[in-house]
Amino acid sequence: MAATNTEVWQRATVVEIHTVATDIRRIVLEPALPKAAEPGSHIDVKVSIGGEEQKRSYSVVESDDAGRLVISVMRAPQSRGGSVFMHGLETGQQLEITQPLQNFPLRVGAERYILLAGGIGITAIANMAAVLQRLKASYTLVYAGRSRTAMAYLAELQERHGENLVVHVDDEGTSLKVDELVAGADLDTELYMCGPIRLMDAVRRAWSERELDSPNLRYETFGNSGWYDPEEFIVKVPRLGIEAKVGQGRSMLEALEDAGADMMFDCRKGECGLCEVRVLALDGGIDHRDVFYSERQQKATEKMCCCVSRGVTSKTGAKADASPAGPAVITIDIS
């Protein structure tokens, strides 16, 4: 009954590109198999990085009746290459994309809404705001950024949402105060957010401190965006005599399947807990990327969701700080 997320791949043509803020391009795609995009949906795009094919997700900013999809891509300073590829696109070029996928649905019918967009996070939020405005719902759109020139779609949003839009700009001294924002929420408020992980963590903390219902705080859980850069690591299953290397672009679950282990799983994105493995020994640390375990359980490092969580050696999270002594080694048993 959850939102359907079957990937349907198709070709799409780039029909329009222009710059909408510093380092942010708006890209209009004309898909071969058009399908309306709900607010909160995204597409996966095949990008090529150093000759290698990889997948990136982009929120759909808007879609029209003809099924054209608008995405916006920021050229990220420490990008792993996806945004550089996207910024290199030209009109007329063809891409492989999925039909819109939905992990972040907007529920219609809440008493009150707060929509929070940090920087490029506006791409996921803009379409939700448009729907709430059309339905005359009670909502506030909060948009925070470093400087106005770096904030895409400001003028359009101002025009459409008027008083319902609140803008916070760091270099104008009007930075967002998360506690004040969350203080404005009550038990009947749903807050939808998209932005930098540190902003979202601050909101999550403030939300639980105010003892608001956790299901009313909505954000997308991308299983592939941890606090740590992915490193290569080793997994061992002594009972089955397995020792496998987990490459940067692979999951531990995939590596175990490749090594012939009979694995149980369902969601493959860190939600259901069916891929749980027991940790027997650990050389290095675990980057828990699931939402199945509580913080307490994650700290205990007795179990992990092998579909998303990884072994790491870096203390800071940055790959540059990975231990020169060699990769992390996780020794486990499976059911």
Binding site: E38, V108, G109, V131, L135, E271
Partner: protein, 364 residues
């Protein structure tokens, strides 16, 4: 538009129903803290009220193993607990607690359908929620106005909802189906006028200087004790897409100016009907009879409700038999009469809605 013409389902015997529409799920008093289940537009829906009294409509199938939530119980401020393994959902359909784990799977949700409570009904929207504008609820203001009094019931009709709409759009059948109460010859003899716009169809019929049939004579005498003589009678049927029909009905002493707009020497009622498809071959038919005279009389309210109950019982019998005959004769078609003009416009408007949803596929 040409595509619509060529695949027109105008005389479809079993017509599909639009999903982007408000349908009545229940009378307001039916929805309580104890969950109930009702199938609406082919989908089972669990209905209940929160502690604050807000009506909630969730898909009646748990995310986990699809057990019906309506068999569970309401918990906390706005939640409902699955009767099988105990998952608790809030009114947004989001999981609040899961058995045997410290966290909640964020994907664990059941659809929560937009709800509006208005005109004594709980309305739900089963289609695209981003189009669920409360202003699209059909106008049935007589249901909750101080100037009107009355009451109604629900008929569980064993037929495609379209057959009920057909029935209400053409009241010539009164002469044959309801001969003992509201039927009279003049119905099929009198002329009628049909008009329509993008969302409504109206059929008006005036019968001047006639004898009042028993139902209307009684109503006249409730307002004007001892009334005798001829009357001018009217029926103004207004359809609002996709399935609401309000009928302005009444009689006034003949020649006192009712056709020109002065109804002071008459009695006026509104038959409020709104039909919710249940399956392709059954529907929930919500009706009420509202009047704008003798508002204080609960006796008249009860008499009118009982009277209409009897009349609609005759329709129900006919509709059931008609659906059975349709199903027993799959190779026979519908043909049309001139009196079907109103009903045909209704079908046309519904087809356009279906077409806009990409669902103009005749259901077999």
């Amino acid at each position: 538009m040409t595509a619509v013409q060529s695949q027109s389902s105008t005389t479809n015997k079993v017509l599909g129903h639009p999903l982007n529409a408000w349908y009545v799920a229940a009378w307001d008093h039916e929805v309580t803290r104890a969950p109930m289940s009702r199938r609406i537009a082919n989908r089972p829906v669990a209905l209940y009220r929160t502690e604050d009294g807000k009506a909630v409509a969730l898909a009646d199938a748990c995310w986990h193993r699809l057990a019906p939530l309506s068999m569970g119980k309401t918990v906390g401020k706005d939640g409902i607990q699955c009767p099988y393994h105990g998952i608790v959902y809030n009114s947004a359909g989001r999981c609040m607690s899961m058995p045997a784990q410290e966290t909640i799977n964020p994907s664990a949700t059941v659809p929560s359908f937009p709800v509006v409570e208005r005109y004594r009904y709980v309305w739900v929207w089963l289609g695209d929620p981003t189009k669920a504008d409360p202003e699209l609820v059909p106008d049935m203001h007589q249901m909750s106005s101080e100037e009107w009094a009355g009451d109604g019931e629900t008929i569980h009709a064993p037929c495609n909802y379209q057959l009920v709409l057909d029935n209400l759009m053409d009241l010539t059948h009164e002469e044959f189906v309801h001969s003992s109460s509201i039927g009279q010859e003049e119905l099929s003899e009198s002329d009628f006028v049909v008009s329509h716009d993008g969302n409504t169809v109206t059929v008006s019929r005036w019968m001047l200087d006639i004898d009042a049939p028993p139902f209307w004579l009684k109503n006249m005498r409730d307002k004007f004790p001892g009334f005798e003589g001829k009357v001018d009678r009217w029926q103004i049927i207004t359809f609002q897409a996709p399935s609401t029909i309000c009928i302005d009905v009444g009689v006034a002493a003949a020649g006192t100016g009712a056709p020109e707009g002065d109804r002071s020497q008459g009695v006026n009622g509104f038959v409020m009907n709104t039909i919710t498809p249940e399956t392709d071959r059954s529907c929930h038919y919500f009706w009420a009879f509202m009047r704008n005279y003798r508002l204080e009389s609960q006796l008249i309210t009860t008499q009118l409700r009982n009277g209409v109950h009897g009349v609609f019982g005759e329709d129900e019998e006919m509709l059931k038999a008609q659906q059975e005959a349709i199903d027993a004769n799959p190779d026979y078609e519908f043909y049309n009469l001139n009196i079907d003009a109103g009903g045909m416009w209704v079908r046309r408007l519904i087809e356009r809605m279906l077409d806009a949803e990409g669902r103009l596929v005749p259901t077999a």
